[in-house]
Amino acid sequence: MADKNILLSEGELLVSSSPHIRAEETVDWLMWQVVIALLPAAISSVYFFGFRSLFLMVLGVATAVLTEAAVEKALGKEITIKDGSAAVTGLLLAFNVPANAPWWLVVLGAIFAIAVVKQTFGGLGYNFVNPALTARAFLLAAWPQYLAGNFPLPLDTITGATPLAILDGTAAGTLPSYLDLFLGNVGGVLGETSALALLVGGLYLIWQKVIDWRTPVAFIGTVAVLSWAFGGNGGLFTGDPLYHVLAGGLMLGAFFMATDYVTSPVTPKGRLGFGVGCGIITVLIRLWGGYPEGVSYSILLMNLLVPFLERWTVPRVYGTKSAQA
């Protein structure tokens, strides 16, 4: 006879569909990994732009998280602030303003990003454009005086032109050295200046398999090739690709914004195409557009193309000759 405790009656055992084991990664873990990966850039920002930078970052995160909680409470939905996605959005938004931006700009941007761009469409997973970037575009359109033009220079109290604006010819000044560009000792918005810090964070995310290498590699590679080919004054292939790669928001955009899961393709080839598309639009704007910088608009435009990219890059199904559809 079997032991008494083995003869369970129906209802005592948990019954559910296979698989009965799951990988450890959760949404929360992934999002907090992104926060961790953003820390080097955050620290370098405080180093170069002072404690005002820290204040704006904390303000951005706090506003985003509170907005998320408030909207979800008002809508009677589950409060999801501990998944870290609102914190990521708040931090990325703060990364996109200069150190001398008024505090209310960050607050308004974070509220717009969460309440309008993210929650209106159903919250995490449903927004079709990147919340932080859309909020930045909104702020840039509404208050250009704070987001275009001269930015605070590092370790200093005066303002000056960004390297890309100087390169573009829209502003006067001397170009900083490659080393300063690499370390982040240049003018710009809070989180974009240090290529080194962003590279460290980005490589960490690739190493942890949080993000796919395809997006940043395709994005940065495309910018390098196109700026080398068309970015020079002496004809084809006289441009300075290294400068284009290190300057502006490319590192921040390529590693942390173009890789946003929700607003980029789910197919591997789609992510490759997404990166290439971002690179092309960035260079178009940088070289021939009205703005010195084009990273954020390139990502927003490509966000809109995601459904098409996914349709064009459907993987080949096992046992079929070519891709479906």
Binding site: I6, R22, A23, Q324
Partner: protein, 438 residues
């Protein structure tokens, strides 16, 4: 050279340490067995009635249908009931209940033969008479599987020793302990199909099994041992064919369309037992394991033994959260423990309440992990949406019918989406629509 493998897949923890090196033990003779008459293909009609005395190996169920395999008594004793029972594959089947007389008397059989003395037709006849079915879980009648439709043939036979399901070690143990029988079984498959080449695919973490088989086939020119990358679902028929032969089974087709016959290790062992000892399929090796068991084991078990008897034998010590027939990736959760071991029951896995706790399902964040993991090349997250919203046209175009329900997508999903039940539902609906159109 890199190990042969397939595209996609996942790497769950193997969890085979507790039973991988433990030799197969024989369970005490059960006092009672419950032998379902539906074990592969059409259900059999009972050949015995309540009150009959039966001997081990006596045929107790038979069907006139081609796609069906007979069932045999697995202990000697009295038939005490013929009644519908719940089976671990989720079905209900009429079953013959036998109370043991404790003597284990075997039916007088021919006592076996030798492979050389048998013609391909003899082998095929024996396969059916011995009640062989796919012992990896699906229980498809083997004599049907080895009979290719007109105009098609097998040129390769693959013994599926991948055993990619975590926890399960019964095939691994058979490969180590019954090496000669497995090789003989493979030769029989080659003979019956006329295939030129035989392969034994084993994941490379089963070193002992690879070494044992390699040593046994050094003289065999037509048999190749293929170490495979340890990756789930390496042991899926379609993936194994891709890994070993570099061919694909056409969408909607059968392995024979790729010229390949894939046979389970247990089935191959059962065939060699039928050939050399004249034994029909009345017992199999089952891995009984899980953290709540004090003594997890690979057990030689009579078909029809109740799960609860085996759990007692393995000294259940702790609460059961989930009781699974098969492995953790594709096994079936049980509602009760008094279900019988079937010919296709490769494992009984017990998860603790902590291990089995349900994880809340969140919205998809479109991370794309399921796309990378799918060994078929589907986009599980899109199919999930289509199936939940009954968008059957889109689901059909997205090849939901090609889903092998391996669960790799759900395994890697950070939102813990219930992708498998959603796709399974869609697959059933799309297949039903297809049948209606015909």
């Amino acid at each position: 050279m890199g190990l042969r493998t397939f595209v996609g897949g996942v790497h769950p923890a193997p969890s085979k340490g507790r039973t991988g090196d433990s030799p197969v033990v024989t369970a005490p003779l059960p006092q009672k067995v419950v032998i379902p008459l539906a074990q592969g293909g059409a259900p059999c009609d009972p050949l015995v009635k309540v009150g009959d005395k039966v001997q081990v190996g006596q045929k107790i169920g038979e069907s006139q249908a081609f796609v069906s395999a007979p069932v045999h008594a697995s202990i000697s004793g009295n038939v005490t009931a013929i009644e519908p029972v719940a089976c671990p594959n989720g079905r209900t089947s009429l079953a013959v209940v036998i109370e043991s007389d404790g003597n284990d008397i075997w039916l007088n059989t021919t006592g076996g033969s030798s492979l050389d003395a048998m013609s391909p037709a003899d082998i095929k006849g024996l396969v059916r008479e011995a009640g062989l079915v796919g012992m990896g879980g699906a229980m498809f009648p083997t004599h049907v599987k080895i009979s290719p439709p007109p105009g098609k043939s097998f040129d390769a036979v693959i013994i599926n020793g991948a055993e990619c399901e975590p926890y399960l070690t019964c095939d691994q143990r058979l490969l180590v302990e019954e090496t000669e029988s497995i090789v003989l079984g493979l030769k029989a498959w080659l003979k019956v199909t006329g295939a030129k080449k035989g392969y034994i695919g084993i994941e490379d973490n089963k070193r002992e099994a690879i070494a044992a088989i390699k040593a046994a086939v050094t003289e065999e020119k037509d048999i190749e041992v293929v170490p495979l990358m340890t990756k789930f679902p390496q042991g899926s028929e379609k993936q194994l064919i891709a890994s070993i032969l570099g061919r694909e089974v056409p969408s909607g087709g059968l392995p024979v369309d790729a010229g390949a016959l894939v046979q389970n290790v247990g089935t191959t062992y059962a065939l060699s037992q039928a050939i050399t000892a004249g034994k029909p399929l009345v017992e199999r090796v089952v891995t009984v394991t899980g953290t709540p068991l004090k003594k997890p084991l690979n057990i030689r078990t009579r078909i029809g033994t109740l799960f609860s008897d085996l759990l007692s034998f393995c000294e259940l010590d702790g609460e059961i959260g989930k009781l699974i027939s098969g492995g953790p990736m594709m096994g079936i959760a049980q509602t009760r423990a008094d279900v019988p071991v079937l010919k296709g029951t490769s494992g009984i896995l017990v998860l603790s309440p902590q291990e089995a706790r349900p994880l809340p399902e969140r919205a998809c964040i479109r991370c794309g992990r399921c796309v990378d993991a799918c060994p078929i090349g589907l986009i599980p997250t899109l199919l999930d949406q289509y199936c939940r919203h009954e968008m059957w046209e889109q689901a059909t175009q997205g090849h939901v019918a090609d889903c092998i329900e391996c669960g790799s997508c759900a395994y890697v999903c950070p939102s813990k989406r219930h992708l498998v039940p959603a796709l399974r539902l869609g697959k059933a609906e799309v297949m039903a629509q297809r049948r209606r159109k015909k």
